[in-house]
Amino acid sequence: MSQTLTETGRGRTGDKVFSGLTLAAGCLILFVLFCVAAFLLWQALPTFGADPSAISGGNGFWAYIWPIVIGTLIAAAIALVLATPVGVGVALFISHYAPRRLAQGLGYVVDLLAAIPSVVYGAWGIAVLAPALVGPYTWLAENAGWIPIFEGPASQTGKTMLTAGIVLSVMILPIITSLSREIFLQAPKLHEEAALAMGATRWEMIKMAVFPFARPGVISAVMLGLGRALGETMAVAMVLSGGGLIASLIKSGNQTIAAEVALNFPEAYGLRLSELIAAGLVLFVITLAVNMIARWIISRHKEFSGAN
């Protein structure tokens, strides 16, 4: 039985269905993103047109949003500064230093950290971390109080920006660690051996063959962590005793956008509701900007990425 060339073979249907499904999935993401953006814009619109004195604080929307944008960035920055070196270090230990059996166990435990709900982190922050940090904060205020971020008097509950930042850093640690570990494990053996064969120590080999290869991946991991730190609501809302924008990280004060929205949303109506949604829009824009900057950083060294 012969087949003419114009005849369509069987099995092409599956191909069509599958390509249709992937196309639909791709479009769905764009559609959802568009809907979220449209919803935020639409609902936030009354805020931008409103009389400045009608906005919370009485000085217009920007005066209202500015301090909590800074607060959000401070919390995320603290979390990143603490979690990035630790996360990359743990990932490197698992991928290149630890004996294989220990590495497996450790990797599993780190992944488990990601499974803890944020409300549990919040509870831990209030019940354990905050009281434990009162002593160190008092010490910091006395001995390093001349640095604006450690200005006293220290909070006696420990519910401060620094505590919130520390809780956030623990929350984003597993993201940074597990992604970095996967990238480190994929570093080409070929290049690792090239480095070792010319007399590199293990650390030099990692600097030569592993880090350059892993750089874009680690940046992505950090950015994903940053995304979570920026948007994290529950833990910050529970741990931070919020207030106006202040420089000191060890006094009560400061607020993040996510926590501000979460704390006020249940009782909000009318213009206040629109205001909070506008705050959400600002957070959305910040996250978008962070991701685009990350992509830009990654693409800057494309020629040397090893992909060619």
Binding site: R100, P188, L190, H191, E193, A194, A195, L196, A197, M198, G199, A200, T201, E204, M208, A209, P212, F213, R215, H301, E303, F304, S305, G306, N308
Partner: protein
């Protein structure tokens, strides 16, 4: 520069599996020695024990002695990092660092051993090493470009330049031409001929004609069967090994009757 290697009763293991058994071999300074043999006979494994690269694999270990001008590489207190900086290696697949420029690739090993180097010294070394690897004329105008943009043969010569930039005593080559086209292979073979005036060169090859062309001495490795350890069957002057070997197995292999 360039030292001789003497190997005494070397056994090589992967965990409990003995991959190479009882090798004794004396490799002269400033000569080219080729290791030939069928796949899986342990010639690459043995080569990797000569600069302690074998032990970077988990569970891999070695018994016996490898003497570099009389100093045992496996003696107590010997740092494998120091060993590797004196015995360079070129791998089967060209492996320049993709994130580094051509210039930085050549200097990669030097920067490890000697952190501070004036720019003019570095430039001179880059030119000398690339010239030594017959690559200078092809890349002198694009030293700042990534090494991964070169052709396979050029990349392999870049790896050789990187190896000779640190002035090693010995250069080990693990099937350096098996991923290359005939013209690039010829370029590398010419290069090996030049390298032997300054360095001790040990090369593993699947290509018997190549061994016959480039080497002064040839060592034939073989295994009795799957799961058995590889052994050094015969070692001698290359013309003798190829035209008048003592062992039947060597004759069968070089005449193409098996392998």
């Amino acid at each position: 520069m360039s030292k001789r290697i003497d190997v005494k009763d070397l056994n090589v293991y992967y965990g409990n599996f003995r991959a190479v058994e009882g090798v004794n071999i004396n490799i002269d300074a400033r000569s080219v020695t080729a290791f030939i043999g069928p796949s899986g006979c342990g010639k690459s494994t043995f080569l990797r024990t000569l600069n302690r690269m074998h032990e970077v694999l988990p569970g891999a270990r070695v018994e016996g002695e490898v003497l570099l001008d009389g100093d045992n590489l496996y003696g107590s207190g010997v740092d494998p990092v120091t060993v590797r900086s004196q015995i360079g290696m070129v791998f089967q697949r060209p492996n320049p660092f993709p994130t580094m420029s051509i210039r930085d690739n050549v200097l990669a090993g030097v920067k490890l051993n000697n952190k501070r180097m004036s720019k003019s010294d570095a430039d001179a070394l880059v030119e000398k090493s690339l010239t030594g690897a017959n690559l200078w004329n092809e890349v002198k105008d694009r030293l700042a470009k990534p090494g991964s943009g070169l052709s396979g043969g050029q990349q392999q010569r870049l790896c050789i330049a990187r190896a000779i930039a640190v002035s090693p005593q010995v250069i080990l080559m693990d099937e350096p031409c098996s991923a290359l086209d005939p013209i690039s292979t010829l370029a590398i073979e010419d290069l090996i001929e030049e390298l032997k005036t300054q360095y001790t060169v040990v090369i593993v090859t699947h290509n018997m004609q190549q061994a016959a062309r480039v080497s002064d001495k040839t060592a034939f490795f073989n295994i009795a069967g799957t799961g058995k350890p590889g052994k050094l069957i015969e070692y001698g002057d290359t013309p003798t090994i190829f035209s008048n070997p003592t062992e039947k197995a060597t004759e069968d292999y070089v005449s193409g009757r098996f392998g």
